[in-house]
Amino acid sequence: MKLVVAIIRPDRLNAVLEELYKADVQGVSISRVQGHGGEREHVETYRGTTVKMGLSEKVRLEIGVSNHFVQPTVSAVVRAARTGVVGDGKIFVLPVEKVYRIRTGEEDQQAVTPVGVPAHTLSSGTEASSSTSPR
């Protein structure tokens, strides 16, 4: 299993969620974060005070997926989040040691498989499968 962490522009969030949905990626957590990358700071003025805003608003998505679903997930995020201007964000793919589903106690592969999809149908040899296969 992998954890895909994507930092994106807040205004691309809806488009990214839509692409993920089309790619059958169903489990995602988001949080609002602030960060600094290579983009130019914007300047704000309040009465006599002028400030350069060093941190920009971003949205952070965390998606736990099985190995063969990493690429479709990453592609979906890139498709929707890319504007071509500095500040589009980053995607990190991290190894995951263990996953538990709290409701059932299921572990690992089964725990990141959406409800209703038997885990054995995607157990092996389907790494290059199309986006229609459940993750």
């Binding site: 003025t45 006599g48 005070t49």
Partner: protein, 427 residues
């Protein structure tokens, strides 16, 4: 007395009282979120503390017959303040109307000491200041004191209210000292919409402040009303243009500030000048305050919400321009420089200087007395935590997450934790 005058003054009194909550929003929006309640309470507290001090003592000091410098004690504890005529309206209504001025003037000073002054010290200062500083100065101009007999024009309080409050603010900011990260960190307004709301409500209330200062429903009230509408409009337009020239963007905080500066500047002039002079006055008044604001942040003075630049500079400019634009054809009594009476500008300048001198010295003494009795400042940790939590035990924007209910046990003095909270960890 007639009922039309009384009706208008009843409305005006309520309008001016609304200016203090309006000021709470204006100031409250300009501070950081951790100090929002404290800043707003500094204005709200004046409604109670100064309102009461005024009724019990302040009114007498300002308006009871006395010397040219301070009123007497004839009206202490509201003695002999009844329904008899005071000018065109009942005496007790006159007392209420003037009380709303005392309240908002004292609240104005708070803008210089927000985000670090201890609330108890502030309350004590507020009450003493309204009695020792505001009362006598109001007497000089409106209570039959020496500035009135000298011929100084101050229709609704350019010097009494705005210059007076701004000088007190300057002294208070100096004595209380700057906020702990002043000039090292940027302090940004946490809610600019509040500030716009406050500015709008201030303008609304200011019609009572200026047009009500005619103390009757007369043509003079109409002159003042027109000036109160037109001068801030002109200031706002010029402020907008200055913003555009400075960095190509029209700011909302700037718009709110420009409105207040225009209102301040027209206050002493309102009932004395023609509507077209009001436009000119408002436009001129934008410049000194605008550049005063830009200049202030480069100094060591932490007049946090720029009371001096807005009210001090604006009030002084307004007081002087009153001496320029006063027009007998509109006010029926006196002309200014533009209509051949150059002497009036000198009188106006004298009134401003006297007010500055007295307010500076008296505010200094009041603050030293308060400082000798209680600590003026919150300590550094409390300041860092925010005055909402440290002074009031509340937050403006509490999340509620992680809040564990403490149950008060009927038998013991010590509060006990609710059983369900024990899962959350230590108490």
């Amino acid at each position: 007395m007639n009922r039309a005058d009384t009706a208008w003054m009843l409305i005006s009194t309520a309008l001016v009282l609304l200016m203090t909550p309006a000021l709470a929003f204006f100031y409250g929006g300009l501070v950081r979120s951790k100090n929002a309640l404290n800043t707003m309470m500094m204005s709200f507290a004046a409604l109670g503390a100064v309102g009461l001090a005024w009724a019990l003592f302040g009114y007498s000091l300002a308006f009871a017959p006395g010397s040219p410098f301070v009123g007497g004690t004839a009206h202490v504890l509201l003695r002999h303040v009844g329904l008899e005529a005071k000018g065109a309206i009942p005496h007790v209504l006159f007392m209420c109307y003037q009380g709303t001025f005392a309240i908002v003037t004292a609240a104005l000073v708070s803008g210089a000491v927000v985000e670090r002054m201890r609330f108890q010290a502030y309350l004590l200062f507020l009450v003493l200041w309204s009695l020792v500083v505001y009362g006598p100065v109001a007497h000089w101009v409106w209570g039959g004191g020496f500035l009135a007999s000298f011929g100084a024009l101050d229709f609704a309080g350019g010097t009494v209210v705005h210059v007076n409050a701004a000088v007190a603010a300057l002294v208070a900011a100096t004595i209380v000292g700057p906020r702990k990260d002043f000039a090292r960190q940027a302090f940004l307004p946490h809610n600019v919409p509040f500030t716009l709301l406050g500015a709008g409500l201030l303008w609304f209330g200011w019609f009572g402040f200026n047009a009500g200062s005619a103390l009757e429903a007369s043509p003079i009230a109409v002159v003042a009303f027109a000036a109160t509408m037109l001068a801030p409009a002109a200031t706002l337009v010029v402020w907008t243009l200055l913003d555009l020239v400075r960095d190509g963007k029209v700011t909302a905080v700037g718009a709110a500030t420009g409105i207040v500066v225009g209102l301040v500047a027209v206050t002493p002039a309102a009932g004395y000048i023609s509507p077209s002079s009001a436009i000119l006055l408002g436009a001129i008044a934008a410049f000194p305050s605008y550049y005063g604001l830009v200049f202030r942040v480069r100094t060591r003075l932490d007049d946090s919400l720029d009371v001096v630049a807005a009210h001090g500079v604006g009030g002084t400019v307004g007081a002087l321009l009153t001496g320029v634009f006063a027009e007998k054809a509109w006010n029926g009594t006196v002309n200014g420089l533009a209509f051949g009476n150059a002497r009036q500008v000198g009188i106006q300048a004298f009134a401003v200087l006297i007010t500055i001198a007295y307010s500076a010295v008296a505010t200094f003494v009041v603050l030293k007395v308060v400082g000798a009795l209680v600590l003026l400042r919150a300590d550094r940790l409390d300041e860092g935590l925010g005055l909402d939590v440290s002074q009031h035990g509340e937050e403006a924007y509490a999340e509620g997450e992680g809040a564990i209910l403490i149950l008060h046990d009927g038998d013991t003095e010590t509060p006990a934790l609710a059983p369900s909270a024990t899962l959350g960890g230590e108490s």
